[in-house]
């Protein structure tokens, strides 16, 4: 494996322009997935989906009292994306081996192998992967694998006008992120990193697309302690073997006990 590459998304720099969403759609030639006006601040994209691989969230947080009575609000934007987990739930759940980890450390779904079983969809602790029903296959962000082949950064990072989305070698990004947190804390902002490494987020082994947040993860619709489903699944398999043994015991027992 060459250098592990990834995203560092600094939400304090996000201005909610959605250039990343547009750049992603354009570069990847992604189709439409419906038009809805939701009334949820400026968020009409709503969630990541099969044809939406970048999604800007818009959280309105009341700072002091009731915003309808003139209290101030904080407007918090974040460009969400596939986290390319070190231990990816989708990859581990995929029954066909269609999902693999690339030489850049990113998680990629091979469209020519995916048979659309849909198991990766609930296996993702972040709700990233989705199956496009009319296409029949699961899709998500590829970390612009095709652009990386040509030494280009992913379209979203390229398009981001404030460098809220930064792309590069993961260790460089981590160092930069920690310096940024220090700076923001000195300025009095309660900033913290989300999923920067395996120590911070043992359930996923760390994210290759990690975030700098200025509020609780729930505010950005991020789970506070995500874990890949296979984390601790051994106990479940043990129960399955115990259940199977019980089923066999019931079968043999009822035949033998009914003997005269």
């Amino acid at each position: 494996m060459t250098t592990t590459l990834g995203f560092f998304t600094d939400t304090t720099l996000c201005i909610g322009c959605k250039a990343c969403e547009v750049a992603c759609k354009q570069w990847n030639q992604l189709p439409d997935d419906g038009f809805h006006l939701t009334g949820m601040s400026y968020d009409n994209t709503v969630a990541l989906g099969a044809s939406t691989w970048r999604h800007v969230t818009f959280a309105e947080r009341a700072l002091d009292g009731d915003p309808t009575n003139g209290a101030r609000i904080a407007w918090k934007m974040m460009s969400d994306v596939c986290k390319h987990c070190e231990r990816a739930g989708c990859l581990e759940a995929c029954p066909t081996g269609a999902i693999l980890q690339t030489e850049h450390g990113s998680i990629y779904i091979q469209p020519d192998v995916c048979n659309g079983c849909g198991y990766c969809v609930p296996a993702c602790p972040f709700g990233v992967v989705a199956r496009r029903e009319d296409d029949g296959r699961a899709w998500k962000c590829t970390l612009c694998y095709d652009r990386l082949q040509g030494q280009l950064e992913p379209a979203c990072a390229k398009a981001c006008p404030t460098d809220s989305i930064q792309f590069g070698p993961l260790d460089e990004l981590r160092a930069r992120a920690e310096a940024r947190v220090e700076l923001l804390r000195v300025r009095g902002l309660d900033a913290h990193l989300y999923g920067e490494d395996g120590e911070a987020q043992p359930g996923t082994g760390g994210l290759h697309a990690f975030f700098l947040l200025a509020d609780e993860p729930e505010v950005y619709n991020l789970p506070p302690a995500p874990a890949v489903p296979t984390h601790g699944a051994g106990r479940s398999w043990l129960a399955a073997v115990a259940g199977a043994a019980g089923l066999a015991a019931l079968a043999f027992g009822s035949v033998l006990l009914s003997r005269d």
Binding site: G34, A93, P122, D134, N221, A225, A251
Partner: protein, 342 residues
């Protein structure tokens, strides 16, 4: 180079088909109706006006599986088939009397047909059914669905061989029977690991009990089927009554595990809650009827019908409860905040 598919004019790509090179990753996506890819299920759509503070507009965090009714139907067919393989194999290995061997023969057929129907349902539910065999291109222990495919294939093959042997009036080979019992019993239980190995909160917190419940409810479903189809022996009566008791205990254990972390709402409320409660009451009614000392064949048919309805509803209830649980962001956030899901 792959051959690009021509886009439909209103797919939102805004490409000039005459000049655009359609080499983007998403250019391969087939589009019939753009709306079909809208990422939020209707039941999870936020109500305008109310802005909840502790979640993101009440939107789901995790996505529910995109499975249709085929999957809970498979849980029934596969569960019955697995239990039938186990009981059939047990009879072949220890039984001696003619009625017992006739019953074994019937169980091989139930098992084989259930596995065939189950496989058909699973393939029908795929987004790309023609690629079903991709499931068998790898062996992947981290994927319960992949392991389950191998279990189903083994159970199906050995049930078929057993039925074939009985058709020719012979006892199936010991190795085939042993494999049939092992694969069959696992076929009835692995589905608990399958749904538990997801980020769906109610499935994940109950994942150590779901396989046991699946075992019990599969045996109860087979018992009900045998009550319906007649030809009961003393062994099947004991088996059926014990399985129905175990099913009720298992269902109770699942409710308790979900209640401990306060995410059991889908088992009480809404569509899933109605299904689950109906299933519980039908199960109780079926057990009571089964244990009646009189009534003969009529009693068996009524108990079998009630039990079958209970087993089918229970699988649909678990499937729907998973969808409802995934749609509720608090069910994801709260247990994680309290360290209940690791």
């Amino acid at each position: 180079m792959r051959r690009p598919t021509p886009p439909t004019p209103d797919d939102g790509r805004n490409l000039d088909v005459a000049v655009a090179l359609q080499l983007g990753e998403g250019a391969q996506q087939r589009v019939d109706t753009p709306e079909s890819a809208w990422p939020v299920p209707p039941e999870a759509a936020p109500t305008p006006g109310e802005v909840p503070s502790e979640t993101y507009y009440d939107l789901p965090v995790v996505k529910a599986p995109p499975w249709r009714w085929y999957i809970p139907a498979y849980f029934y067919a596969g569960g019955v088939a697995g239990a039938a393989a186990t009981l059939g194999g047990a009879l072949e290995l220890v039984a001696t009397t003619r009625p017992e061997l006739r019953l074994a023969h019937r169980l091989h057929w139930i098992s084989m047909l259930g596995e065939a129907a189950g496989a058909a349902l699973l393939i029908a539910d795929l987004g790309r059914p023609a690629r079903f065999h991709h499931m068998l291109r790898v062996i992947r222990p981290t994927s319960p669905m992949n392991v389950g495919t191998w279990i189903l294939s083994t159970a199906g093959a050995t049930s078929g061989l057993s039925a074939l042997a009985r058709l020719r009036g012979r006892r199936p080979p010991g190795l085939v029977l042993a494999a049939n019992v092992v694969a069959g019993s696992l076929l009835s239980t692995y589905t608990g690991v399958l749904v538990g190995n997801t980020a769906v909160p109610i499935w994940k917190v109950t994942r150590r009990r779901l396989p046991l419940w699946f075992a019990a409810t599969s045996a109860a479903a087979l018992g009900s089927l045998l009550q319906l189809s007649g030809g009961a022996t003393r062994a099947t009566r004991v088996y059926t009554a014990a399985a129905k008791v175990a099913e009720l205990v298992g269902a109770h254990a699942i409710e308790r595990a979900a209640r401990e972390v306060a995410i059991d709402a889908p088992l009480r409320e809404g569509h899933a809650g109605r299904l689950w409660r109906s299933s519980r009451w039908l199960g109780v009614a079926s057990l009571v009827t089964t244990l009646l000392p009189w009534g003969g064949r009529t009693r068996d048919v009524i108990a079998g019908a009630l039990g079958t309805a209970s087993s089918v509803l229970a699988r649909f209830a678990i499937h729907e409860a998973g969808k409802a649980s995934a749609a509720d962001p608090r069910a994801t956030f709260d247990p994680q905040r309290r360290g209940a899901i690791t």
